[in-house]
Symmetry: C2
DNA sequence: GCCCATTTGTGCGTATGTATT
DNA sequence: CAATACATACGCACAAATGGG
């Protein structure tokens, strides 16, 4: 077994895994250039010149970064720094949940994380919520009740409620994370049959209980209301999956 | 074949382009064929034939799926179904944290999520932990103390402690999620200067307090110990970032 | 409205690296 | 070691989209 140098003298030394190296180089370029979301990146031609690789390699690297929402590619216009959002997590988790053949357990895991997060967060946000925020939350509950009476589902209102609830924390990541889990959960649920809420008025009441507890500054009651809320979702989930299986 | 309506500009562009469609087709192929992690995928030639697109399009789509850990590409061997792990989240969050120019706030957000999660989880796991698990945790603490006395840092032991702690929950997602946040946090910290723990014995003691409280089946004390643990990390973080800024 | 330059998207051919048999 | 199968990389040509004159 000879340890001869792998690269002939006449050829430029090319690292293995050029694709991965190019991705790293582009990420480093963004960091070094202090570029923020929305800022334009060099064109593919400039990148292949700057990095000394072919256009295909540049494009494949950009495709990988696009999947991570690190870059954003606009056809016929240019490449830009992405938002680095949590959409890759949503895509990955939805696929993962759909691919594992026992959806019930996978959905239960997601649900438990949401529950732990929201139960802990509501305690932290309870004192930070002012009257205007509480009014806005109550308004959302009213619109939920309205939609429920009209027989319309209200996933957007539910989502908005939870997002608004934790806004005072100023933690943008936790909002996006909860949104991501919410997306995965409802997307997987949509891929199966159980989109209809069997008892909307119950769901509305649980949300109203949360607001009431918060208005009374009763942290423990708010936590209990949130736990009840998730117990309701859980019951819905096991009933649906049992019905399917 | 239905003609898709024009989407508003807000939608991510990759969902309506051919490249995105090829990604979706490959994902659907995996789901329809009931393939699991590690199973082989059709070769590039077969994919371009099956989907009616060129090799470049297939490769770019695969590169995107590889970034999401949905497929795994082995040079010269073949493409396989990936683990759908949370590595994309790690990559995305590390980049996001490094790209936002105020690392302190971004790290604080991650830390708060870890804290909320672990504080809620330890309550749920407290009753499920048996004597063997507690012994294993205590053993880890002993090895931490040993490493601390020898002046060696012990990030792996810290990581193992928290992973072992929540194993009885049987929630694989939460373990991976905590691991992902841990990775991001320490990777970003490594990209700056503050890798050294100023007071290892303090860190060891906080872990020991957690085990002690768990052994006494004192849930409230365990939660307090966990909160103290994170208070320590927080203090370390603000001190380091203040020193840098 | 049309044309045109720029930029990304797609397809094809070819050579090379890598792992299995 | 040779043959085979496959991914990796490069280069070129053309199509499609966008924005501006």
């Amino acid at each position: 077994m000879s340890e001869e140098p792998r690269f002939p003298a006449g050829l430029p030394a090319r690292d293995r895994r050029v694709g991965g190296q190019v991705q790293g180089a582009i990420k480093q370029l963004i960091l070094d250039s202090r570029l923020g979301p929305g800022d334009p990146l060099p064109t593919e031609a400039e990148l292949m010149d700057a990095l000394g690789v072919s256009r295909n390699s540049v494009r494949e690297a950009l495709k990988g970064l696009q999947a991570l929402d690190i870059v954003e590619i606009r056809h016929g216009y240019g490449t830009y720094v992405g938002q680095a959002s949590l959409t890759p997590l949503v895509d990955g988790l939805t696929f993962r949940t759909l691919a594992r053949h026992e959806d019930a357990h996978a959905l239960g895991e997601i649900l438990q994380i949401r529950e732990v997060l929201e139960e802990g967060l509501i305690r932290r946000v309870a004192t930070a919520l002012g009257e205007p925020e509480l009014d806005a939350l109550e308004d959302l509950v009213e619109r939920m009740a309205e939609a429920g009476r009209a027989g319309r589902p209200f996933p957007e209102l539910d989502r908005a409620f939870h997002e608004l609830l934790y806004r005072p924390l100023g933690n943008t990541l936790v909002a996006q994370l909860l949104g991501a889990f919410w997306n995965v959960f409802h997307r997987v649920a949509l891929a199966q049959d159980w989109t209809e809420d069997p008892s909307p008025e119950r769901t509305v009441r649980r949300h109203r209980d949360i607001v009431t507890a918060l208005r009374a500054r009763d942290v423990a009651a708010a936590q209990r209301a949130m736990a009840d809320h998730f117990r309701g979702i859980e019951a819905r989930a096991v009933r649906a999956t049992r019905g399917v299986g």
